[in-house]
């Protein structure tokens, strides 16, 4: 029973780590960053390549170093996507296209990165050494520490305050002397870094690394962010843990083959009751 609960919480914590990236970017930009799942996938590749090529004989320490490499790659990639694909659109797109164009770009970047991974790494899955994987309990501890750190970052630091300010009103924030562009880049960096941690925990404890892996966990994480209340950091954490727990509960029943259908039906009910998500705020749109 305890093992089961640990597994369920670990699953939820991993989903939550990835969900944070979706929710933070949405918070500052009102953009669903569909490329986020591909940042996760690329960082997983970075970790396995670093682990096998650079730190093969280093044991657990090598795993930690590889995770750092993965974080660096994810941050670089996330920031590059923002600067190359999204920022030019924000400056130029007007009216209705201002919302839709970045969304389409996000999907395109996602497809592009998946194809690039397929070409560069082939479709054959790669595996992180399970012997070096963190034990279940530590997955939860790592995720919890990261989330506490993020909470502190958002609520207690200057840059966190700036992020919240840009989220409320980017124009007003600019008038107060905040550079929205810098804040946005920082948001992408943090979200991508968290995805990298999620990616390593995921690859290290349950599934191999392949070009389509981002979709598997990315979809769950995206839904977690929406159910928790997109834009809300605590909501993403709650949504992730909820999806993880619900999934593991369904797996214990004889309906395990329909896990997603059942979990998502429950989530639809949640959204019907609370359309803004569990912790989301239904704000009136500013005109």
């Amino acid at each position: 029973m305890i093992a089961w609960l640990l597994n369920a919480l670990a699953q939820g914590a991993m989903i939550a780590l990835v969900a944070l990236g979706y929710t933070m970017v949405y918070g500052v930009l009102r953009l669903i960053n569909f490329a986020h799942s591909e940042v996760l996938m690329m960082s997983a590749y970075a970790s396995v390549i670093a682990q096998t090529r650079l730190f093969a004989g280093f044991g657990r320490a090598g795993m930690v170093l590889s995770t750092l490499v993965a974080i660096v790659v994810a941050v670089a990639l996330g920031v590059t996507i923002e600067m190359v694909a999204y920022r030019p659109l924000r400056a130029r797109a007007k009216g209705a296209s201002a919302r839709v164009a970045p969304l389409v770009t996000a999907i395109s970047v996602s497809v592009l990165l998946q194809s690039v991974a397929q070409l560069a790494f082939t479709a054959t899955p790669r595996n992180l050494d399970r012997a070096l994987a963190p034990p279940m309990w530590s997955v939860i501890v790592i995720a919890a520490l990261v989330m506490v750190g993020l909470h502190a970052l958002v609520n207690l630091t200057w840059i966190g305050k700036a992020m919240r300010a840009v989220a409320v009103n980017a124009e007003a924030a600019r008038l107060m002397g905040i550079h929205p562009s810098r804040v946005i880049v920082f948001t992408f960096a943090v979200g991508s870094g968290l995805a990298a941690i999620g990616a390593v925990l995921y690859a290290g404890t349950q599934a191999p690394i392949e070009p389509t892996m981002g979709t598997a966990i990315g979809n769950l994480a995206f839904v977690a962010a929406v159910v928790g209340g997109i834009g809300s950091v605590q909501g993403a954490m709650l949504g992730g843990v909820l999806i993880g727990l619900l999934g593991e509960i369904v797996k214990r029943t004889s309906f395990s083959g329909m896990k997603d259908a059942i979990v998502f039906a429950l989530l639809v009910v949640v959204l019907l009751v609370k359309p803004a998500g569990l912790l989301g705020q239904a704000r009136a749109e500013k005109v």
Binding site: W4, V111, D129, Y202, N219, G247, E248, G257, K259, D260
Partner: protein
Amino acid sequence: MSSARISRRGFLGSAALGGVALAAPSALLGCKKGGSDTIQLGAILGLSGEDASLGNESKDGISMALDEINAAGGVRGKKIAIAFEDTKLDPQLASEKIQKLIDRDKCLVVLGDAGSTPTLSARNYAEKAKVPLVTPSATNVEVTKDAKWVFRVCFTDATQGAAAAKFAREGLKADKAAIIYATGNKYSEGLQAIFKREFEARGGKVVKIATYQMGETNIVSFLTEIKDADPQFIFAPVYPSDLSKIGPTKQQIGLKAPLMGTDGWDGPATRQKGVIETLEGSYFTNLFAADQPGSKAKDFVEAHKKRFGGRVPSSLTACGYDALKLVVDAISRAKEITPDAIRDALEATKGFSGVTGTFDIDAGHNATKPVPVMKITAGDFKYDSMVTL
């Protein structure tokens, strides 16, 4: 799943394919112009996506056979051309792509797919358009059931599942078995049902059936439940992408009973470092055993090694090879070069000598042959025994 996301991706995907289709005719025209001295065939295979290895291995086999046939002057004085289309093993794409091959490229025969789910979907159009569809490795019983235009060069899951059950009872003397399989996957679902029926008919007991959803990544809870049921043997008719989750997790939780899989296991995903070690001592039924004593496949294995840097061919490669060889054999025997006549010739196949064995095509359009069992030993697939039902 976020449906908005999937449909948008689907839209983009087809938009991109549209672009490819626009660009493609110039490439295809080349072979169509010489229509009179070329026989145009098509192949639908899952060449990208999670289980891309399945389609790509089949393609390797088909390409090897193609080059051999054309180097030897083709068939009836004509060269063979094959248009490959990627299905990602997705049923919807499979049905789109077979339409393209038949309507746009006027293919006389279509080969594929590597897996059962997309082949079942492509089957409808082959039957409707009256063009033979020859699958190298789709083993699900339904694929050729009551079909007039669908053939396969492999045995069915009914044969394979029964062989696995016989091997478990007689070869391994197992009384208690567990099953782990994926829903949403006809191959996996079909095999588990056949195995359960046959294993129980032979006096064994299935103590636990763990059902997970295809694409599930967290396998821990399922294997823990199996461990608690304490079986002597675990039947796992799954695709290799799932195996790379099941193997390491099984080792991690200390589940000792041997796994037995099916032909889907034979591929590079299973041989991956970090996976193959965790499967040591497992068995699987296969479509082809490269190291089987007395096998006629030696030349094929050598040619494959030469072409692909020392790699031993997988069963899917061997089946892809046999599929095209069988089709060309049928073309050489056909009264005329039309889908109709080729179909009749395929149906009349007797004693075709392929690299996967010598076989007939039976009344149900399936190849009749015994089932080799492989054992994973020292990080490699080794021929263990032959099960004849």
